[in-house]
Amino acid sequence: MLRLDSLSFASRGQKILSDVTTVIPDSALTCLIGANGAGKTTLLRVLLGELRAGSGTFYIDNTRASALSPKRIATYLAIIPQGIQPPPDFTVSELVTLGWSPPNRAFWWRLSAQERGSVQECITRCDVSQFSERRVEELSGGEQRRAWLAFALAQRKRYLLLDETLDGLDVLAKQSFFKLLKEVASEGKGILLTTHDLDLVTHFADKVVVLSGGRVNYEGPPIPNLQDLLLPASA
């Protein structure tokens, strides 16, 4: 599990995260919700080591993450950033292969037949095998998100961090994507998804963490009226 212990972060004297303490369980879909500016993306960037926490730390299982380099942390966490654009002209299959590729590979590196099979498994798992030779930018929003999920799965990491990956999708596409995430989580991945879709969160999430003003306002199973928790406790 990922255990966050009193994580705080400030930028230019302004506190963005304050004493964030929670657990992101394995094999579960955890939804991180909060109003714009609540600190959701900042929290993901701190977890990835892009930003250094002012105080507090987090643990991957029982290993203190501050003892690990960002590169080492990245071996546990895969990220799909907010608003990510597909690389021009890449097919789904090529995108997912990039996810599989080892870092700093030699110029002549290429996939073995077995590795190609594993890449294909990720593509099939995310229901994009019928588009595997089409360019990612030609696909619909929902299909693109599935391709990115296959890319994240191909990295063979334990935790997937998805930053507002559902933005801009219609309700049916969102529902379908949530179902897929739920299935992937049940197969052993810990998924942390930041989103604003409270109805779907209530329906699909295993756990909800509500950030408000940089603090955890609620954590636990989904409950009705989550929107009431988005305002800071003092408001």
Binding site: K71, F90, L98, P103
Partner: protein
Amino acid sequence: MRRAFLVIGALVVLLILGVLIGISLGTVKLSAHELASAILMRGDPVAHTLVWDLRMPRVVAALLVGSCLGVAGCLLQSSTRNPLGDPQLFGLGGGAAVMQALAMGGLLVIGNWTLFTLSVLASLVGAAAIAFFASRRGLSPARLALIGVSISVLAAAAATGILAESRVFGQQSLNFIGGSFANLAWRNVLPILPFLGIGLLLAFLAAGNLNVLVLGDPVATNLGAEPKRTRAIAIASSGVLGGAAVAVAGLVGFVGLLVPHLARSLVGHDMRAIFIVSIPLGAAVTLYADQAARLIFMPSEVPVGLVTALLGAPLMIYVARRVL
């Protein structure tokens, strides 16, 4: 990658044909028999001199400079995620141009090898500036290109000023500013070899990670690809190659812009394939452009930069309209 090797095979055939055109055609035409004899150093000694001392250095210079510019453009476009990446447009050759102008004006009296080294070092200063700006978040490709063009224009103005102040006029200045392979001897060409070697070595170190850079730094970092390091190596390599190219042929524009786009249309978007194809493709584009510059208006000739600009400028307008 299989397609890349097929394209390379076709390019090798084109290059052999281009070399034969380069050493056989001109104001003095050589028949196939005379050419073969001259290549084998038999028969007429005038033909030996014509082939080995006058035409061959020019052909080899075009091949090597073209490879340098093609690879430099490929590395710049991929590492900065900018389709306008080109060593001249990004100002990488600017420092080298100033060094060359100082030498041509007699203000810097040094040997060829030292001049090459200084040109490459000066080019690395421009490379460092581009690396600095490229590393800043949120800087659009168009703005990065404009910064590069500003550096390039400033350096070209300084070089022109030095040439004017030193009263280096006429053909020599035109050849330098427009880019030319005319009147090159082996001693002007051979010093490029070690710099081409260093540039390619650095390029091979970076090339394996160029594909991942298209995903952006956060994702590339998350994949363990060290994008800053890769970008630094790629831009340093471009600086070495761009500076060495200017030291041989002056300011040959647009080859670095043109070649990666052409390579992409031939082999797809795998940056490793584009990179490896850019080596012979840059050589072929520059060699044929130089043959056109040399032969179309025979017995006079135009700077090769004019031919490459005729090809590259419309492409730049197209890219600017479609991609930026």
